[in-house]
Amino acid sequence: MKVLNILSTGYRATLEEQDDTVLWISQAMKRAGAELDLLLRASTVNYVVEGQRVVPLSIGARSQRNAPDVHAQLRDLAGGGATIFLLREDLELYGLLDRPRLGEVRLIGAGGLPGLLSAYDQVWHW
């Protein structure tokens, strides 16, 4: 079975979870043998931008040591064989088209989505 995970909500609880939980479950399933790719749209297109960094969270005297790194999560997924698609129109809307980004991603226009989605057995929208 081949699955396409579509991510639409960026930075959802990432400070609490120390990761993006959809990328995390994708990583966990890949390690269990899953065959899945990702399509980033809406605010998640920012995940591919190089140079982003999160300062560890501090609430009162409680300081977090390990901050989330969603960019590294994506790189890990790509390194594990997942294809990362990026919706071109959303990248343009967010003004990110010309920003340095993760090299392993593939841009796709909205017109290409029907063909892309039909290439998968299941499509999950998060």
């Binding site: 959802r12 479950i25 966990a28 399933m29 269990a32 299941q122 998060w126």
Partner: protein, 136 residues
């Protein structure tokens, strides 16, 4: 004849989103149509089958606890489980184990079990289709 099986992933915590009630209605409708169902509770959704949920009175409504008859997600889960049993259908509710631990949310009703993302993948792979009901 091949049986139809659907997998649902739920993600919202109880009492936070109308998506949960809608998802429960979809699962109920699937059972009505003789469809086997799997549910993977991810993140806050592991709170849905918590046995400790308690109905409360509502002074604003002017009703005591009995009159208020406050809905509890654990009762919805139990009702779906029982309907599946009555109809000879599969009903496999799996709570993401790490999600349970980080929330201290152990203590789910009978008929649910602990699992991992690998269980979700196996459920989806054995299903006709999968619906992810994610937190917005």
């Amino acid at each position: 004849m091949t049986r139809t099986r659907l997998t649902f992933l739920l993600m919202d915590a109880p009492f936070e989103s109308s998506r949960t009630a809608t998802a429960m209605r979809l699962i109920d409708a699937a059972l009505d149509r003789g469809i086997d169902v799997n549910i993977f509770a991810y993140e806050g959704a592991v709170g849905l089958p918590l046995a400790a949920q308690t109905a409360h009175a509502n002074a604003v409504h002017g009703r005591d606890a009995t009159e208020e008859d406050h809905p509890l997600p654990r009762e919805w889960v139990a009702a779906l489980r029982d309907k599946a049993v009555e109809r000879g259908l599969a009903f496999d509710w799996v709570n993401c184990g790490l999600c349970v631990e980080e929330r201290g949310a152990a203590g789910s009703i009978e008929g649910t079990r602990r699992g991992t993302p690998a269980d979700f993948w196996a459920m989806a792979a054995a299903s006709t289709n999968t619906l992810v009901v994610a937190t917005a």
